[in-house]
Amino acid sequence: MGWQRKILVVDLTKGEAKAEPLNMDWAFQYLGERGLATKYLSEMMDPKADPMGPDNVLIFATGPLTGTMASTSGRYAVVTKGPLTGAIACSNSGGKFGAELKFAGYDLLIVKGKAKKPVYLHIIDDQVEILPADGIWGQTVWKTEELLKSKHQNPLLKVASIGEAGEKGVLYACVVNDLHRAAGRSGVGAVMGSKNLKAVAVHGSKGVRVKDPKRFMGAVKAAKEVLANSTGRKELTEYGTNAMIDVMQQFGGLPTNNFQKVQFDGTEKINAKAMMTPNAHGHRNLVTNKACFGCTIACGRIAHIDKEHFTVVNRKEYWLASGGLEYETAYAFGPVVGVADIDALTFAGYMMNEHGMDPISFGATLAAAMELYEMGAIKKDETDGIELRFGNAEALTVMAEKTGKGEGFGKILGLGSKRLCEKYGHPELFMGVKGQEFAGYDSRALQGMGLGYATSNRGACHLKHDVFAEDMEDQTGKGKAVPVKKSQDKVAMIDSTGLCLFVTAGWGLEDFQTQVDAACEGEWSVERLLETGERVWNAERIFNNNAGFTAKDDSLPERLLKVPAPSGTAKGKVSELGKMLPEYYEARGWSKDGRPTNETITRLGL
């Protein structure tokens, strides 16, 4: 109950698909989604395997609450070894695909091997087909969904696919589902492309049942009320996540011009209010807000671009409404590249969704390229005639499209910031950890965020912990290790349920507990949930250790460690990672070289 107790294993090398029972021992230990997929991945592959080779394993994982009436129950995770980082990749996504996969009867879809020719999966409940992707390979994400629904004459199909970026090995290519929701980070889409798997199209009619329906419905109703009444939820609904940009601007934690600055002159042109305010032509960027499956928040933005804007004036096909700016896209197409043109940002977002790329990594990579360009390390004859200067909106939109399509300088941008900076002889300009670019928070202003970035198992990531409250209250590194550790465990647990992290706008641990316990077999206390999260975190860490990662990879760029923040509330401060990290290892029960001790391994039953 909660679980479907069945997984689908597809071996693309052999061209076989078969359903197997879910390992319930693992389910009781790792819950689902992120955790359960981590366990399966660790058991099924050598962590040293080439992430772009056939020995990598790609897992689409739902959680026990995915597809239930719990708010935000649409989450699924894509777990694999990431090509951008070489570490375990765990990218989760909303939309409707994940719930649909669960309705088809599967907790996990595990993809092994590599198809000889491009294929896609067509799953209608028990009927699973590996079909040739003729006519679909080479198409955009948007076109792929349209073609598959049309080909199978089934508007009810939910589709997760890669665009050209994933096919061409852009190292931060993502898996996009439902047109503009994405398992975004670490290049999970490139892995899918490396397996010659273009798309997964699924429709399910088996439904999801829970252990104690009556108690579950009571818990769900109560939790939804808590969420509905919370201030955080109300702001997310009204303004979306981009409300954050004003907060970071004021605070001075808004990475600007590749982290050379921490505040951006122009946020008022790209913030949540700007999205809602008509421009001189009376064009309003924001069309409406939209929910993922089961979500009672609806932070998603649907926007459209002013028809007179240079990006679309001669391209009617982009006059449609589609996924609009969220905080991370606003950051990645805005401050970090110095652009304050809301339509250009929105267009860049369309490019990410349409071609299947991670906006954070793209924006941050472009930012590094701009810095390299401005210092003369990259020449104009390499950039297809585009001035790669901070603030150039055309550079943003043209390069977004070129990168997605694998054209010209876009091919270089598709390597990610780390490789790009190394290529041009300035590795220090890479702003990220373990090969993955930072999200929109500066570690000098937010100390706990820095520790979270440094220790995140998938490389730099803002979504694997949540210590904003602590960070904003106290801007030193003191006492951050334990809250970061605890928060990481909690988030790992949430990521293993099938629910969205954003419900923490209103929910405490008890709200998760009542719902999980009513849905899933066994007894699920808050303690057990947190221990599960800790187990998941350590399992990921062990995967990374086995892949070759050590304590020295838990680091931040020199710019954050040595160059003081130039303005804002943290003016003059640098990241205190050096102090926090040993405390963190201690709190984790890890050795000094960043490995879980035998005691920790035993305690968590790893």
Binding site: S150, H152, N154, P155, L156
Partner: protein, 414 residues
């Protein structure tokens, strides 16, 4: 007012109920020629498949339904009518007079004129009695030949398959359900049946049937033969109009009726399978032997009979069929109309098919295979003539967006 209805099928019963509602003081009599309570032929296959009991076929379930409404059920079969004298003579010699008469005598199965067609062991499947006879003889493993893969044949096919007989279907046309499916759809249904172990022989004619040692021997054109324990004949139906020959009531295939369901003789109306009435799109008269038409005919004929002039826009041919689990449906002018356009989308591997036929930007007909959700909207589109505007072009690209087109054009009125 004295109303007499000939026929106790859906058209007759609905007419009687409508008359009672509209004219509470009138006398309403239904003349029926089967001994069972009024029942639905639609339900017979489900009885044959043992899904329901005989009472499950009844049109109305309330105890004493007809008594309570003051509707008289009179056993008998009309032999002739006299419009001038306003009377009906029954085969049993009885005479009934009327002020208004409704002919709702339905249709009867027809058999092709071939030698041996009336031998024992050859059954039609039309009445509850027929169904009982087939049920008694269609034993698991028994060799059954179904003559005719039309709409009714396909419904019986389902029931026979459920009885686990060794089934062969012989059909003259080049495909199954030729009158409700084009070649693409009919062939997809045929392949579907074959995959489930039914032998399908299209473009095949039975030329003679004779008794053999173990049953019946069917000669087919081209010199082939089939052996069978039971032959079920579903080669077509024809309206029951023979008793009208001397009545002056004009008939072609069925009783010709106008937009008020009135026949050529004053005070005589016709409804249901026996009526040849206006078709909604072309305006030509057609016999649509289907439940929805019977139901509408019955209701509208009754309103006109009771003195509420009611115009009938015409019937829309539509059918829905479940062939061993594959649901197909057809609506209106699915063959297309002169000067019109059409779009087809087929996925034979998954037995899905959709065809839309347009006049300008209006849907005038549709075929669907494997579609069960919101399928009625195809009727809605044909019947209301909604102009699709820009959606026409999009549907030409992907007809499966038809529900979106419908909702967008009706602004989600709901």
């Amino acid at each position: 007012m004295n109303y007499v209805i000939l026929g106790a099928g859906p058209a007759g019963v609905i007419a009687a109920e409508t008359l009672r509602r509209t004219d509470p003081n009138g006398s309403v009599t239904i003349v029926g020629d089967e001994r069972e309570a009024p029942y639905s032929r639609m339900a017979i296959p489900y009885l044959l498949a043992d899904n329901i009991k005989p009472a499950g076929t009844h049109l109305r379930h309330g105890a004493g339904h007809y008594d309570k409404l003051g509707i008289t059920l009179r056993p008998g079969r009309a032999a002739r009518i006299d419009g001038a004298a306003k009377s009906v003579t029954l085969e049993d010699g009885g005479k009934i007079s009327f002020d208004k008469l409704l002919i709702a005598t339905g249709s009867r199965p027809t058999r092709p004129p071939i030698p041996g067609i009336d031998l024992a062991g050859i059954e039609s499947c039309w009445t509850l009695k027929d169904a009982a006879a087939i049920a008694a003889r269609a034993k698991p493993g028994g060799r059954v030949v179904l003559m005719g893969a039309g709409f009714i044949g396909c419904i019986i096919l389902e029931a026979l398959h459920a009885r686990k007989v060794d089934l062969t279907v012989v059909e003259m046309a080049d495909r199954m359900v030729a009158r409700m499916m084009d070649k693409t759809g009919g062939d997809m249904i045929g392949r579907w049946c074959e995959r489930q172990g039914v032998k399908v022989m299209t473009s095949t004619r039975v030329t003679a049937i004779e008794k053999s040692k173990n049953g019946l021997r069917l000669a087919l054109d081209g010199g082939r033969h089939l052996e069978a324990d039971l032959v079920v004949c579903a080669t077509g139906v024809a309206p029951n109009v023979r008793f009208l020959e001397a009545s002056g009531v004009k008939t072609e295939f069925g009783v010709l009726v106008d937009h008020h369901l009135a026949s050529s003789v004053a005070n005589v109306y016709a409804a249901g399978d026996v009526a040849q009435g206006p078709e909604m799109i072309t305006g030509k008269t057609e016999v649509h032997a289907i439940q929805p038409t019977a139901s509408e005919h019955g209701r509208i004929a009754a309103l006109n009979m009771a003195g509420q002039p009611t115009h009938y826009r015409g019937s829309l041919s539509m059918n829905v069929l479940n062939t061993l689990g594959l649901v197909s449906s057809s609506f209106g002018q699915w063959q297309g109309v002169p000067g019109g356009t059409m779009v087809e989308k087929a996925d034979p591997d998954h037995s899905r098919y959709l065809r839309l036929c347009f006049r300008d930007d209006v849907v005038v007909g549709a075929l669907a295979l494997g579609l069960t959700q919101h399928v009625g909207v195809l009727r809605g589109l044909v019947q209301t003539g909604i102009r699709l505007g820009p959606w026409k072009q999009r549907l030409m690209g992907d007809p499966n967006l038809v529900m979106h087109a419908y909702l967008d054009r009706t602004k989600g009125l709901a």
